[in-house]
């Protein structure tokens, strides 16, 4: 479990950007895609996001498993949405152009299709952006970036700590569960739900105990190396901003403004082709 956040080191423009820039861009674009439901904007962003994969020399197949996973999730969610309210689109766009009737209350309407297209687009913007971020950003740089975009360095560092100790905790959990199995605790899927939850708790107890001791020792170690002494701190992993960084951030800000602007133009978050 050395590479949990599947960071794929390459040399590309995207990799060369500082983590702070990428994080800022991620957040801004995410915000834009969350606020707006303007199909043109979303569509544009999707194209842009996938184009970025090419630029960053990350091949889609390197992240394919994740994509599949998400795809399934997406389909499921869409079916749910349709199952629960097949007329959502109609309600939103205030018109109803029927295509065909399935059964009972279930019709297929252009409005519904269009609405769900927007939902899909929203995922499609998010996924490549996040994938791009994790696969082009060195985990070491992550905390530094958070601090750079204004998060208190103490909190930023607790994120670094989390990433540092995830593999340890994982290994410990594994070992404990094995040593318990050796003593007859059944961990297999055969067990009933409630039983399984109980068993996990049995593992949790020793895990918590060791973790609590860890917390004690680690915080001592950190204080002994003067953590929290100054109001701020520098980061070994941080990198200086370059022109490209400013450009990217500026670009992202523009997109946000655009999405807000469109909201006003459309007189709402939706772009409505049905009028």
């Amino acid at each position: 479990m050395t590479n949990l956040f599947n960071y794929i080191p390459r040399s590309s423009i995207v990799h060369k950007l500082t983590g702070a820039t990428k994080l800022a861009a991620l957040l801004l674009l995410t915000f834009a895609s969350m606020t707006s439901f303007d199909t043109r904007l979303l569509g544009g962003m999707v194209i842009f996001a996938f184009a970025m994969f090419g630029v960053s020399k990350i091949k889609l197949k390197e992240v394919a498993p994740v994509l599949w996973f998400t795809f399934v999730f997406m389909v499921l969610n869409n079916l749910l949405i349709y199952a629960f309210s097949p007329e959502e689109g109609v309600a939103i766009y205030g018109s109803r152009t029927e295509i065909c009737h399935l059964f009972g209350m279930y019709y297929i309407t252009w409005e519904q299709l269009f609405y769900q297209l927007n939902v899909v687009l929203k995922y499609l913007v998010m996924i490549p952006l996040v994938l791009l971020f994790v696969s082009t950003t060195n985990p070491s740089e992550f905390a530094a970036s958070l601090n750079r975009i204004g998060v208190s360095y103490k909190i930023a560092f607790s994120v670094a700590l989390a990433m540092r100790y995830i593999p340890d905790v994982q290994r410990e959990y594994h070992d404990i569960s094995l040593s318990l199995q050796a003593r007859g605790v059944e961990m297999t899927d055969k067990e009933k739900l409630l039983k399984r939850i109980k068993n996990v708790t049995t593992i949790l107890f020793p895990l918590i105990m060791t973790s609590m001791q860890k917390i004690e020792v680690i915080s001592n170690a950190m204080e002994l190396r003067s953590f929290g002494k100054e109001k701020k701190r520098t980061w070994y992993a941080a990198r200086p901003f370059r022109k490209a960084d400013y450009a990217v951030i500026a670009g992202s800000v523009l997109v946000v403004l655009l999405s807000v602007g469109l909201t006003f133009l459309n007189g709402g978050r939706f772009y409505n082709p049905f009028i």
């Binding site: 996973f69 749910l80 939902v119 989390a162 994982q170 949790l204 895990l207 929290g228």
Partner: protein, 183 residues
């Protein structure tokens, strides 16, 4: 309760790591699609009750955020924020000080479970769905039913896992006199 010293920072880091491992690798599937039995909230509730609202909030936030990142699907902000709120509320209502000194009796248990129930209800039946509607314009009835289901399953698992952890912890913390016998 509000001050965060180095120890709190570390607690947040380790707590998030634990939350991550439980949420990412120990998730037990449930009958309802898109909803898994989340043991990690039992842990989160325990840590929050022990280290207070700020720790609780950040453990939930960071832990859940990292889980989403590592899956690679978009960061599902509505639910990340809900996790954070859950941790915060439990930290606020859970009787922290007494657990930290290793006291957790029947009263404590009731208090703890009330806190976690309220927090879960708030997080999954109010915050998460409302955000889902605001951000993703998902149909109200869908998100509220999904939220209701997760709230229910989470309350139950937390009631089991969290409460057991608290009791175990309280028993393990040596009382004032007890260190005398040692060596």
């Amino acid at each position: 309760m509000w001050k965060i010293n180095v120890k709190t920072i570390v607690a947040i880091g380790i707590g998030a790591a634990l939350f991550f491992v439980l949420g990412r690798f120990v998730a037990i599937p449930s009958p309802v699609p898109n909803v898994t039995i989340c043991i990690q909230y039992g842990l989160l509730a325990f840590m929050a009750a022990l280290f207070g609202p700020i720790a609780g909030c950040l453990i939930g936030l960071i832990g859940h955020f990292l889980i989403d990142l590592s899956w690679g699907w978009g960061v599902w902000w509505s639910w990340v924020i809900a996790s954070a709120c859950f941790g915060f509320v439990v930290g606020l209502l859970g009787n922290r000080t007494r657990l930290a000194f290793g006291q957790f009796g029947k009263k404590g248990a009731i208090n703890f479970n009330l806190a976690q129930a309220i927090a879960h209800a708030g997080a999954w039946i109010v915050i998460a769905p409302v955000l889902d509607i605001l951000i993703y314009q998902e149909p109200a009835n869908k998100v509220f039913i999904q939220g209701g289901v997760s709230a229910l399953s989470n309350i139950i698992t937390t009631a089991i896992v969290g409460t057991l952890l608290c009791f175990a912890w309280a028993k393990a913390v040596p009382d004032k006199g007890s260190l005398k016998k040692e060596n």
